[in-house]
């Protein structure tokens, strides 16, 4: 089950928005297959009726009072932007 094909590696890369070189694809095919083979041992565990644990501590929704507070000034929010214009992050058009 775990042996990944090159096509699967390409599909995962597309989902993850990564462009991989041919050498990287081959390397990840081997390495990820080995790691997933190792993870196959989990299939031995009987987890019938066992609830999943998403967090180590019991989580509940946390609300804060609805008070108006100062937020980051626009110029500081934009200070690290690779490209900014006035009060916006500038990117290429997404739609034609």
């Amino acid at each position: 089950m775990a042996k990944l094909s090159l096509t699967e590696v390409e599909t995962i890369a597309e989902l993850a928005k990564l462009t991989l070189t041919d050498a990287e694809k081959k390397m990840f095919q081997e390495q990820l297959s080995a790691i997933l083979d190792y993870a196959e041992m989990l299939q031995q565990v009987d987890t019938t009726g066992i609830p999943p644990t998403a967090s180590a501590i019991p989580l509940k929704n946390v609300m804060r009072p609805d008070e108006v507070r100062l937020s980051l000034p626009t110029e500081e929010a934009l200070a690290n932007a690779p490209d900014a214009d006035e009060a916006s992050f500038r990117v290429r058009a997404v739609l034609d």
Binding site: K17, L18, L32, A34, M41, S55, A56
Partner: protein
């Protein structure tokens, strides 16, 4: 530097016979010793900070513990700390030079997470842990090296440079807080902040012969920690001894409304609680039998077993316990942590901050940015996490791992019904040669076998020096239940008082 493997009793005697040197250079002081001198007016924070900066100037070329050193800022903070003290203020961390792992956000100071993606990122805010240290009057000397986005067990995956182990410069310092651990071991700082997602404080502490504490999940705010695996990450201290670790934890712990997973419980004075009693009588220490099986190097096992004997000699009751699902810790960890990492790292798209590599259209810009900005280990984990979360494989990998995580939690709950703390190795071996595991990720992952489970179940753990093997330090891991920091610190402190391993320092650098 000499390989040391001697019986505990000899060390008890040695420790009692040899008084502490009082002619030490200022940079080699512990935090509590430095604080005593600051309070007595024997030294100023500026003098202490200058000493640390001079030490960095001398040894940093060899150790490479830092990504950046902020000399002017450090001296400015030191002057301010001296002014606060002159005005009558007192605080355990006032005027103490500290280093901060470069995965923790510092306002106005570059924070890179060891990645080319954030090479020029200067945050407009502080992490809560950083705010707390600022308020306490600590002095920040620099940002320490880390595996990229804290993903690694050796600090070789930093996009900047590897860090070298001060005990042997050809070996790794451990990861991903290897920069912080090496900086403390080489006396390039008095203490440091690290982060621990699967052992990244405890394992480098073990490899570098310093004390490293991973607090209970939620004990220290994660606000401003650059996210790796959000249900696992935790900020904690690396220090020269247990008392320093307790002082730092007292300064860091506490509820924070900015972190929705922060635990709302009072913060004890860990130093006072640690020092209660003068032995370990009445303490029940569990030894998980599954932690002493194949893969553990014989030399390390001998040292750990000797440490357990010593704990018994201090009055603790040693009890064999079982954590039957231990073998599943590594696959569960690497599925859950990579799944969370793949989600957390989706924010690096070159739009709001960080690197941008223009690719023609928007989608290609995302892909090119991520291709150039991420290193091999980060890509590997994003790929693995994306696969584990993808339709068709979610149930077989991610859901299954979350279910087995429940079984791991139950193992610990059951064990803590009969013991107060547990002890184990930190890593199966000592620090390895740089480059020896970098092409074999699975082998690298397996070195985390003793540490990852604590993160999966949210418990606290500390690594304290307990011997040397092959000329390299070995750490003893003491594991506590949720919010059991006082118990593990007390155990570590009593052990440290009875031994002298933490007094061993690397040779000339």
């Amino acid at each position: 530097m000499k390989p040391v493997l001697e019986c505990g009793l000899c060390w008890i005697n040695a420790h009692r016979l040899v008084p502490l040197e009082d002619t030490l250079e200022l940079y080699s002081l512990t935090i509590h010793a430095a604080q005593d001198k600051l309070r007595q007016g024997e030294i100023t924070s500026v003098e202490l900070t200058e000493s640390v900066l001079e030490r960095i100037a001398v040894v940093e070329k060899k150790v490479q513990a830092y990504i950046s050193v902020q000399q002017d800022l450090a001296l400015q903070m030191a002057r301010f700390a001296d002014e606060r003290r002159a005005a009558g203020e007192d605080n355990p961390l006032l005027g103490i030079p500290l280093a901060v792992k470069d995965a923790i956000i510092t306002q106005g100071v570059p924070t890179t997470a060891g990645s080319a993606m954030l090479k020029n990122y200067v945050p407009p805010f502080d992490a809560t842990a950083v705010i707390k240290l600022r308020q306490a009057g600590a002095v920040f000397v620099g940002k320490t090296n880390t595996d990229e986005f804290t993903m690694g067990s050796s600090t070789e995956y930093s996009a900047f440079h590897p860090t070298n182990n001060p005990w042997n410069l050809s070996r790794v310092p451990g990861g991903s807080s290897g920069g912080s651990a090496a900086a403390v071991a080489a006396a390039e700082t008095l203490g440091a902040l690290g982060t621990d997602t699967g052992g990244s404080i405890r394992q480098p502490a073990s490899f570098c012969g310093v004390v490293g504490l991973k607090p209970t999940y939620g004990r220290v705010s994660r606000y401003g920690l650059i996210a790796h695996g959000s249900s696992l990450d935790q900020i904690g201290p690396l220090a020269k001894d247990v008392e320093d670790a307790a002082m730092l934890l007292t300064g860091l712990a506490g509820y924070d409304f900015r972190d929705s997973t922060s635990i709302n419980a009072p913060t004890p004075d860990y130093v006072a609680e640690m020092k209660q009693g003068d032995n370990l009588k009445g303490l029940r220490i569990g030894v998980p039998k599954e932690y002493f099986v194949g893969g553990l190097e014989a030399g390390v096992e001998t040292i750990i077993r000797a440490a357990i004997e010593q704990l018994a000699g201090l009055g603790a009751e040693i009890i064999d316990v079982s954590l039957p699902n231990t073998a599943y810790g590594i696959p569960v960890y690497y599925i859950i942590s990579t799944a969370e990492a793949s989600a957390n790292l989706s924010r690096y798209d070159g739009v709001r901050y960080g690197l941008r590599r223009d690719g023609g259209d928007m989608w290609e810009t995302f892909r090119q940015t991520r291709q150039v900005g991420f290193g091999p280990e980060v890509k590997r984990r994003i790929m693995l996490g994306t696969y584990a979360l993808s339709a068709g494989y979610y149930d077989a990998y991610y859901l299954k791992a979350q279910q087995v995580r429940t079984l791991l939690r139950r193992d610990f709950e059951q064990a803590f019904e009969t013991v107060d703390v547990m002890v184990s190795p930190v890593a199966p071996g000592v620090a390895f040669e740089i480059g020896s595991k970098v092409d074999n990720p699975l082998q690298m992952y397996l070195s985390d076998v003793y540490t990852v489970t604590l993160n999966l179940v949210g418990l606290c753990g500390i690594s304290v020096p307990c011997g040397f093997w092959d000329g390299m330090p070995v750490g003893l891991q003491i594991i506590g239940p949720a919010l059991g920091e006082s118990a593990i610190l007390r155990t570590a402190y009593q052990y440290e008082q009875a031994t002298a391993w933490h007094r061993q320092k690397p040779g000339e650098l």
